[in-house]
């Protein structure tokens, strides 16, 4: 078993005007774990995700997956290093079917030459789609348009789409945002169950959810890393209590 961290964040930073949205943030993410970034609104969590996933270019610092530097690479190249991300605001192909949303993402698994052959030749993608449909309880919805799903179903589909390319690291940006309590509980189970195949880096507002499913937590405040550790140790941390839990 490989015990080196799968992902390293080293001194990542970016400013918008005078505002240091993310300021010198460093942490490691261990293999097959759920690591969570929490923090109050405006703490820089989503900006951090955008820096890691290539949606924004960092002013300083590096992101590495298994030793490969991701900085300055396009979203497509970052994908090739095994990183897949979801979006805080559901970002799907709303006028395509659930199946097609997954198929498009799973197509990534096929060799390049299959891009020009009929899609029925892409057997691996097809079986991946079926696997994800049943795992994410979307089989009965497979031929409906993604835009016609309920909010909770769309959030599930969003995670499934990210998994379809079999990434090493999965970035989930508030996956339970706007979900009902029941859906949130289901999603929690789902995320916990993902760690047999991927490493999950999560952004979450829901403190209860975070404490339950995280192996490790990073607390951000005003762009800086405030604390890092196990859920229990973070809960005990006085700075964290003042900055975050105190205000809840």
């Amino acid at each position: 078993m490989n015990n080196t961290p799968i992902m390293k964040i080293e001194g990542l930073g970016i400013s918008f005007g005078g505002l240091k949205a993310v300021d010198d943030v460093s942490f490691d993410v261990d293999r097959n774990q759920v690591k969570t970034v929490i923090g109050p609104n405006g703490a820089g969590k989503s900006t951090l995700f955008n820096l890691i996933s290539g949606a924004l270019r960092p002013r300083s610092g590096r992101v590495l997956i298994d030793g490969a530097v991701l900085n300055g690479k396009s979203a497509g190249q970052i994908k090739a290093h095994g990183l897949s991300r979801s979006f805080q605001i559901t970002n799907l192909f709303f006028d395509l079917t659930v199946r097609e949303n997954l198929r498009l993402a799973a197509q990534y698994l096929e060799p390049a030459r299959h891009a020009w052959l009929p899609i029925k030749r892409s057997a691996r993608a097809a079986s991946k789609v079926d696997e994800l449909l049943s795992r994410f309880i979307l089989t009965v919805k497979a031929d409906e348009l993604a835009g016609s799903l309920s909010h909770g179903e769309q959030r599930r589909l969003e995670i499934a789409v990210c998994l379809a390319s079999e990434p090493k690291v999965l970035l989930l940006d508030e996956p339970t945002q706007g979900m009902s309590h029941g859906d949130t509980e289901d999603t929690k189970e789902l995320i916990r169950g993902l760690t047999d195949s991927v490493t999950v880096l999560l952004i979450e507002h829901d403190v209860g959810l975070v404490m339950d499913i995280s192996d490790s937590i990073v607390v951000m405040h005003q762009g800086k890393k405030l604390a890092e550790g196990t859920p229990a140790s973070v809960r005990q941390n006085a700075d964290v209590q003042a900055a975050y839990f105190g205000s809840v």
Binding site: G76, K79, F93, Y108, E110, W116, D143, S165
Partner: protein, 343 residues
């Protein structure tokens, strides 16, 4: 389980068969009655359909509106004309036109694909205007008169030989050719690459995070569309015996866009029906009044307002049953009430 896009394409194929059947009947009537005027007009409609297919690949599937697609149509037509003046070879003319439109669409694509949406549209328009004016002012290309006196050719296909002067024979050659272009695009849309194009139309911002290059996909779509337009244009001088800068004009480009919207963008076969519809409407109304463009403009506005999905865009969904079928049936009454209010 076959997905919705595959089923939609299959319905499109069925309407292609219907289209071909009607075309064969028209050809038979034309051949028996010896009415070459209408057969020539029908052939021109088919050639326009090739240009419309090119526009539909970009607009209906990739979601990029080109207002300058006639540029590549014109490149194909001029190159074909120049080749035919030297040597009366159908296949040489087609190959040269294909190569020239591929090269020019590659260069045009490098420029136009730097931007997207409305800026893309404006650049395609600008490119076609610039090249159109250059051709218009180039004496070697016949300037504003174009190139006339292109010899009638014999088209050798296998053991057969068809003269371009034979209205029925050439109509059938063009029909076969347009069906091949249609088939090639239909094949493309059933490949993973084709599906990435549809994904671009649906939500371009999501595509890079699936690991696919947006630029590459848009570039390939643009070049393929250019080649489809160029090959269609190459048939024009064989039909009419001349080419003129008009073939690259805005009105040519916009005719193709109108044909696609009338027939139904993103339905593939709609491009063929739309082109025929447009040519028929133009010639019928043109025989009533010389101000036919006013009527056609008004008709176009009316059809966009009340039938935004176009002919095939309305028909094909009736053949696709989806679990959430209620949604598409809900839209129908709302359209009806809209038109009621307008009256």
């Amino acid at each position: 389980m076959r997905d919705e896009q595959s089923r939609s394409i299959r319905v499109s194929h069925a309407f292609l068969l219907l289209f071909c059947a009607c075309a064969l009947v028209a050809a038979a009537i034309g051949a028996v009655s010896g009415n070459s005027f209408y057969l020539r007009l029908a052939t021109e409609a088919l050639i326009l359909a090739g240009l419309a297919l090119s526009v539909d690949l970009l607009l209906g599937y990739t979601g990029a509106l080109s207002l300058g697609q006639a540029l590549y149509f014109g490149v194909g037509a001029y190159v074909s004309a120049l080749v035919l003046l030297q040597t009366a070879s159908f296949w040489l003319a087609m190959s040269a036109a294909g190569a020239a439109s591929l090269l020019s669409a590659f260069i045009g694509g490098l420029i136009a694909n730097r931007v997207r949406a409305v800026y893309f549209t404006l650049i395609t328009l600008g490119l076609s205007q610039v090249i159109g004016k250059v051709v218009y002012n180039t004496r070697e290309l016949g300037a504003s008169d174009g190139i006339i006196g292109i010899p009638v050719i014999d088209i050798g296909i296998g053991g057969w030989s068809v003269s371009a002067a034979d209205p029925t024979g050439f109509f059938l050659v063009v029909l076969v050719f347009i069906v091949i272009l249609y088939g090639a695009l239909a094949y493309l849309l059933e490949t993973p690459f084709g599906r990435v194009l549809i994904a671009l139309r649906s939500n371009e911002k999501r595509v890079p995070f699936l690991g696919y290059s947006v630029w590459r996909a848009r570039m390939i779509a643009y070049v393929l569309a250019g080649v489809v337009a160029g090959l269609s244009g190459a048939l024009y001088p064989m039909l009419r015996g001349f080419v003129s800068p008009e073939l690259m004009s805005f009105s040519m480009s916009s005719n193709a866009v109108v044909a696609v919207l009338l027939g139904g963008a993103g339905t593939l076969v709609g491009a063929l029906y739309g082109s025929v519809l447009l040519v028929v409407i133009k010639s019928i109304i043109g025989s009533w009044t010389e101000h036919h463009l006013i009527v056609i403009g008004a008709l176009f506005i009316w059809s966009i307002l009340f039938f935004p999905r176009g002919l095939m865009g309305m028909i094909i969904p009736y053949f696709l049953k989806r679990p959430s079928e209620e949604q598409s049936t809900v839209q129908v009454p709302s359209n009806v009430s809209l038109s009621g209010e307008a009256k």
